[in-house]
Symmetry: C2
């Protein structure tokens, strides 16, 4: 999606350690008019899918998912990040390893809000090694829900997550795929 690629080039910031900072428009300050265009694009890309729910993960997935959901006319459920879940049988849970924070946390969704009747689109801001998406897919699997696809704002194409999902036959639509980036020059090359 050229609009998003242009914005990443303009306002994104490449840092050492394969970090791409997009906090000016995506995950701290949020440009909802950009989110609107992204939501419309996902609706076009997933037009052939019967989707009745969007699943995302706190915190930075929520804004993108909610604006996108207006095009799908479906509710959003967000997985909560927590440490040390009280397993009382009311929750779906999975473990996720954070790429940027180098730690493992639990993600949880109430069983009330995901079940076998659900056809789900997962939306998130970043895809790198795929840990968050894999955790969300694990929740869907526990719920007996159907995964219809995955919509990502920015995929780091030089990490394995995206291609692993494609290899499984999952419909993955990343609106911008960074093929390589250079912290010294700030250059970003898109796939």
């Amino acid at each position: 999606m050229k609009l998003l690629e242009d914005r990443i080039r303009k306002d994104g910031n490449v840092k050492e350690g394969n970090i791409l900072k997009v906090d000016a428009f995506l995950n701290h300050q949020m440009d909802v008019e950009l989110f609107h265009e992204m939501g419309e694009e996902w609706k076009r890309l997933f037009a052939d899918k019967k989707i009745n729910k969007i699943l995302t993960i706190e915190a930075s997935g929520i804004g993108i998912a909610c604006v996108a959901a207006e095009f799908f006319h479906v509710p959003v459920v967000f997985a909560k990040k927590t440490q040390g879940v009280n397993l009382d049988g009311e929750l779906l849970t999975a473990k996720v390893e954070s790429f940027t924070k180098k730690k493992v946390y639990d993600i949880v969704v109430s069983k009330k809000f995901l079940g076998p009747e659900d056809h789900v689109l997962i939306i998130d801001d970043f895809l790198a090694n795929g840990c968050a998406v894999n955790g969300l897919m694990e929740l869907l699997s526990q719920a007996g829900a159907t995964l219809e696809g995955v919509g990502i704002a920015i995929e780091k194409g030089f990490q394995a997550g995206g291609d692993a999902l494609r290899a499984k036959g999952i419909k993955l639509e990343s609106l911008a795929i960074v093929q390589s980036m250079d912290a010294a020059t700030g250059e970003i090359i898109f796939r």
Copy 2:
């Protein structure tokens, strides 16, 4: 706002300890079509204010704020909750005491995204004793930004936060104000 009051009566759940669970439509599963109506209502209520930014707090304020921001055509900034901030001079910070979790945490916003030129509407899902809103106002004060108003989905009118803001002359628009609620009968009375 009758639509929200009706929805709280239908899908809200009163629990012991002054807890109102609205996780079916507001802060875990999120009804974005309801958020759309709420955003339109806030736009009407704050039509006379010059607002160039919306400030909210993770996680459950983000979805409401982003959908509302589409009516204001402004970006959203969300404060992050953290414990033990590394004070490197790049962050605005304040302390907030959580009513439901009975603990104190830090909230932070990057200085890049709030400054003296900003005229800000604060949006959040709940207002009880007002700790979160007071923390956000403290960030605005540090930034030299101007508070134009506060938009809340559900105010607990039997706690002091809302009336304290009104007493300060702040324009507060709560779309539903719970005057009293009864965990035994499930009855909810709106102001």
